[in-house]
Every structure is written in C-alpha cells, then in structure tokens.
C-alpha cells in the first residue's frame, strides 16, 4: 500500500490548518457563505437536508486496518456511530458539526487520509478496480496510476475551479469493474504490439440527467505521457466547456456537442504544447509509487480442503472470488444485510472488518463502488474462521451480485437534492427477496436506485434501474431496463410510466417473474434474457392493464 512521504504528510497537515482558518474566516464574516461553499466542498463538507455531511476519500478504494479503525473512532467521537460507503469509494459521515470538522480532518491526517476534493467542481477522488492486485484477469495494477493522478490532481492550480465536477476511473483488467465508461475520463491499462505499457483513454462518459458512455479519444497512450495528456484534456474542457448551464457543464456535453474528432484534435494539439513544458513524470517519484503497490508476501502454496458447512459453502459461492494465487481468495463482505441501509456500517462492524484484515488478510481492505467492503488477499485456509466472525457481526449475508445486493443513493433520508426516497425502496426489495435460495435461483442481477435525476445510484447502468422523482408532490419511480456498467456497457432504456411508492416493489417482482418465465435455462441471466428478447415481455409484465387493453382491441 502507498505510504505517505514527508511531503504528503506535510501537505495534508497544511490543508487541515488552511481549512481551520477558512472556517474561522467564515465565522467572523470575512468570507461570505457563497465564497465559503466551494472551499468547504473541496474539503469534503456538504450541507445536506438535516446537517452537514463529511465525505472522506478512500483513494482507489484501498485502506488498511488502522485506517478502518480510525473511521470507527471518528464515527463514535463526532458522529452517530456509523458511516456510509458510497459508490465512489468514499465514506460519508452524516452528522458532523461544522466546528468539529477541522479536528475530524486532523484525525484523518493521523492515519494518512484526507477529505480533499471529494466534492466541488474539481478533479474528484480517483477510483479504480476494487480487485486490483488480486484479480485473475489483471494486466497490470491500476493503483499506481490512480495514486499518480491523485497526487497530480491535488490542489492543481489550473483545475480547481472547473465548470463542474470531474471524475477519473482506472482499470487494469479485461473485465471492467470500475465502470470506466461512466466517467469523465476512463483509463484502461493496455500494451501495444511490442508489449510497451500504456493506456486506452476514454472521455466524456457520465450518468446524471444526460447519461452518456465515454468515447475513445486515444487508443494507445504511452505510459510516460499520461500526465501531459490528461492535463490537455482538462485544459480543453476548462477553456471551452459550457458554463452557462449547470446541467450542461460536464465534459460529456462538450464531447457530445463538439464531436469526438474535434475534441481529439484540440486535445492532441494542446498535448504537444504541454510536452514542451513538461515531458512525463519525475521517474524517482513514480518508481516509489509503483514499488509501494508491490504484492504482499503470499503464503507458500498448500492444499485447500473443501468447505462442508452449508452456510459457509453458500457464502463462498456468492461472496468469494478467485485470486491470482489459487490458494488465496478475494472476499467481499456484504454491506447489504437484508432490510439494512445499503453501504452503512457501524463502528463495531468497522472494527471487526479491520481486525479480520489485520489477522488474516495482509492488513488490506477495499471499498467497492458497489458499496461493499473487500478483503483482497485472503488465504483460503482462513475462510471458515472469517465467515464465522462475520456471521457473529451480522456481516455474512451471502448475496453479492444478487437481487438484494442493491446500490442505492442516500435519497430523501439525507440528501437535500432528493425528489424521492431510495433507501426504503432498497430495504423493501431486499426484504421481499429475503430468502437467499430464491435469490440464488434468480441469479446475477444488479438493481440500482437513485433518489433524483442526478443518478448517484447509477440507475442507468443497473440491469433494473429505479429513479425516484417527484410528480406534483408525490413520489414516482421510473424503471429503466438493460443497463450495464461493465466492459459491455449500455445505458438502460426507460420502460414506461412510473410507479407510486407502494407499487414499485411489486413492479420489480413482476419483472423478475417475467425473467424467470422467459429464461431458456437456469444459467441465462436477467441481462441476457433482456438482450435476447428486448423490452416487450418485461413491459407486458410491468403494465398488465395496457397489455390486456391491447389484446382486447
């Protein structure tokens, strides 16, 4: 894992001191609320429906036990004993007091963490594949790239006052677990024909009210040119991206309106200029970054005895993935207990996860964009013990990738922008399908819920997406079908008229019934059936009255 240098350490400490001063200047009136707002956002502090919310970065989702314990400490000391893991590998605390925030930031700095640039119109926390360094299909670990970008984008003098937020994601595998096509810039580590390392660069993806998939702007970018190239993209965006309308200010709109070919031309010419100014990256600094992500010292190979306990077997089937070392495994800890708030963990649960990482799993944890926690390097001989301890802590729900492994944004329960509730909808769906055997029969299914058009719940890329809107003061839920956030990415299509709050869960049940009726064999997934048959059978299930009317006509 990356360890802070003296430079990083001094940097975050200074940022905390600076923010302390900004809070004081706000309180004494030398900063207006308008002026203070972007400054606090750049330090992760939002104003929500009921209180402030502090969003802390877990860069590329990687942390160790000590850092997880510090979250537990922060939750107990300054919040209400729990935290919420988000779809961008952050953790949010929902109830901090403004005057406590500088101390919370100081406590983060104590464990080499920060909340910088987790909100505001700047380059946000860089995300990466949560299986990095452990996946069987990995070409190269994306985290050195993500860390390099984290450093480069931190307090960047040119790009801290952009027209809108800017998100970068990196993957190093064939199978895209980082949803890179839904990011302002998506990077995929590749090799050219001679085996030289580099990147495929995508630009202009994003969800929100106008969902778009990123387009390839450069098929192969040599590794050493990453920073001047990304800087060129940002510069083009900063100078000619729209600023007249907040909803048209993301780079996806610029790419859409200008065309990818013209954007490519502009970026390439700016890139050539940048190369003259700085050619690549200080190799010493980058070598140190790369070295810090070396694999842990794996245990010697041994024979694995198969699990006998049924509960353990079922948990291994769903929550445990293969590791690049056959006697190791990747464990996903579900934060989607039946009827719980997706992504929430109590301070006790955090401490238990930290202890498991420290005792059994090379002291490493990951946060996934699907709001779960991962132990990336687990010797298989410890699986039974880990399962037992997770079960005692209420963390052994065996539902990864299944119908109750739902992504939901905070919605009306916390978010000031929400037009509908999303957490209670997730909870009701999960209770409806509480039976894990039934969930396993249904198979892989991604349900994603957003509480407003901003789409923080990624509903556009859910196999079933649910968007909560406000229709004349009443919650109304729109369904989209067929979305996909992986390497076969697609944006879901709207199914038809929305449903009331008490109709949405039955509607989801009907969709799943229709899928079960139409699948050709047990292994054909929901998404495969949708792609084979199109929306018709699903629409018929959603709107039986319309179906009956048209049959009668």
């Amino acid at each position: 894992m990356y360890e802070y240098t003296d430079f990083d350490e001094a940097f975050v400490r200074e940022r905390v001191a600076e923010f302390r001063g900004q809070v004081e200047r706000r309180l004494d009136g030398s900063l207006t609320e308008d002026e203070f707002k972007p400054l606090r956002l750049m330090n992760g502090l939002y104003l929500q429906l009921h209180a402030y919310m502090l969003r802390i970065a877990v860069p590329y989702g990687t942390l160790n036990g000590r850092q997880m314990r510090q979250f537990a400490y922060i939750a107990d000391r300054w919040d209400r004993g729990y935290g919420h893991f988000t779809t961008r590998q952050n953790i949010q605390f929902n109830w901090p007091k403004l005057q406590d925030v500088p101390d919370m930031l100081e406590a983060l700095a104590d464990v080499q963490m920060h909340a910088m640039q987790t909100s505001g119109n700047c380059i946000r926390n860089v995300t990466a594949d949560h299986f990095s360094g452990a996946a069987t299909d990995e070409i190269a670990d994306p985290r050195p790239t993500a860390e390099l970008l984290r450093q480069w984008s931190t307090d960047h003098p040119e790009f801290t006052w952009l027209g809108r937020k800017f998100k970068i994601a990196v993957t190093g595998s064939e199978h895209d677990r980082a949803v890179i096509k839904a990011h302002d810039i998506g990077l995929r580590l590749v090799q050219d024909d001679d085996g030289n390392p580099g990147y495929e660069v995508l630009v202009g993806g994003g969800l929100g009210r106008t969902p778009m998939l990123g387009k390839v702007v450069r098929e192969f970018l040599p590794k050493e040119h990453l920073l001047p190239y990304v800087e060129a993209i940002l510069q083009v965006y900063n100078l000619i991206g729209r600023r007249d309308n907040k909803y048209k200010a993301r780079i996806k709109i610029l790419v859409h309106e200008t065309g990818i070919d013209e954007i490519r031309r502009l970026v390439e010419s700016t890139f050539q200029e940048n190369l003259a100014r700085f050619n690549g990256v200080n190799q010493e600094v980058f070598d140190r970054i790369e070295a810090s992500f070396a694999a842990p010292e794996f245990e010697p190979v041994y024979d694995v005895t198969p699990a006998v306990d049924a509960g353990l077997r079922s948990w291994i089937d769903t929550n445990v993935a293969d590791h690049r070392e056959p006697h190791y495994a990747i464990v996903t800890i579900s934060l989607k207990g039946i009827g719980e708030t997706p992504g929430d963990a109590t301070s006790d649960q955090m401490r238990i996860m930290a202890a498991l990482a420290e005792e059994f799993a090379h002291d490493e944890l990951r946060i996934s964009h699907e709001q779960n926690v991962i132990l990336p390097h687990v010797p298989r001989r410890h699986l039974a013990e880990i399962y037992r301890r997770l079960k005692d802590a209420g963390l052994a729900t065996a539902n990864i990738g299944l119908v109750s492994d739902i992504i939901a944004c905070p919605g009306m329960d916390y978010c000031a922008l929400a037009t509908a509730r999303s957490i209670p909808v997730a909870q009701k769906i999960s209770e409806t399908f509480a039976d894990i055997d039934r969930q396993r029969d249904i198979g892989p299914l991604k349900i994603k819920i957003s509480g407003c058009i901003n789409a923080c719940g990624h509903h556009h890329v859910g196999h079933i997406g649910i968007l909560g809107l406000d229709r004349a003061g009443v919650e109304n839920y729109q369904i989209t079908l067929g979305g996909d956030g992986t390497e076969t990415a697609s944006i879901g299509e709207r199914a038809g008229p929305g449903f009331a709050y008490d109709e949405i869960v039955p509607a989801v049940e009907r969709l799943i019934e229709a899928y079960l009726d139409h699948r050709s064999e047990d292994t054909e997934t929901f998404l495969e059936v949708y792609r084979r048959m199109g929306p018709a059978p699903f629409k018929a299930a959603l709107y039986p009255e319309a179906e009956a009317r048209s049959n009668a006509a």
Binding site: L31, Q151, L239, G280, V285
Partner: protein, 139 residues
C-alpha cells in the same frame, strides 16, 4: 478604486492612468502605442489569437467574472506556455484562497474590486506555505 495584490502585499494600481485596449484592437486598424501596450482578455477568447503580438504586449488583464469561473487559470497557463513574458493580471472578485493558484499558473498580480478587498485584509493574501504536487511530479 481597484486594489492590486501581489506576493509582496497590497499596492496601488500603477496602470490606473494608462490605457488597457480591448482584445480586438489588433484587428481594428487602430494606431497602437510603441510602449505600455496593455490588453483586456475576456475569458472566452483564445490565447492563440494574441500570438503575433505577445512580444509587444506589456500587460494582459485576464477577466474573472466570478471567483468560481476558473477559465482564467488555464488562460494564464496557456499564455505563458505560448511564450508570453510580460505582466499578467487577474482582474475580478477572486478570493484570497486563490492567490496561490494564481501565482502558480503565472499571474503576477490580482486586481480586486474595492468592495471585495474591504472584506479580505492584507494578511489573508499572504500565500500559505504549501508544497506543489505538480512541481514535484514534473520531470
């Protein structure tokens, strides 16, 4: 009267009595002075358009319509990349927290409306000692 901020503190505007020409002056056929040529730079224009004159210009005044509109930071960077060596001024209601970034992209000074300056005394403009990741990473 506007207030000028530099790394040395607050100063009077030594350009107050001199002309700052509009951006389009080079295409207007107007007679231009041999010395003390200064130009307005609205933040939706292209730096390349000034290239033929960059050697002659003594000051470019880049407009910041609001502190939240950060186009000026990229404009300054580009003007410097294109070889401009003269004085570069950021003009508008920026906040003191932006002083560090302004200097790092190549601005020499900030021209602040009086009303904004009144709320932000000189000590707020002292640039805090903060390392630069960009400098550290550039080879």
């Amino acid at each position: 009267m506007a207030v000028i901020i530099t790394e040395d503190g607050i100063a009077a505007d030594d350009w107050a009595d001199k002309t700052v020409y509009p951006f389009d002056v080079f295409w207007s056929g107007q007679e231009l002075p041999e010395e003390a040529l200064a130009v307005e730079f609205p933040n939706d224009r292209k730096p390349e358009d000034l290239v033929p004159w960059l050697d002659r210009i003594e000051m470019i005044r880049v407009e910041f319509p609001s502190f939240a509109d950060g186009r000026g930071f990229s404009l300054a960077r580009r003007l410097r990349t294109l070889g401009y060596k003269g004085r570069l001024r950021a003009a508008g209601p920026v906040v003191s927290d932006q002083h560090r970034a302004a200097v790092r992209v190549g601005f020499d000074e900030i021209e602040l409306p009086e009303s904004v300056a009144a709320r932000q005394p000189a000590e707020h403009w002292v640039i805090r000692k903060q390392g630069s990741y960009q400098q550290r990473l550039a080879s």
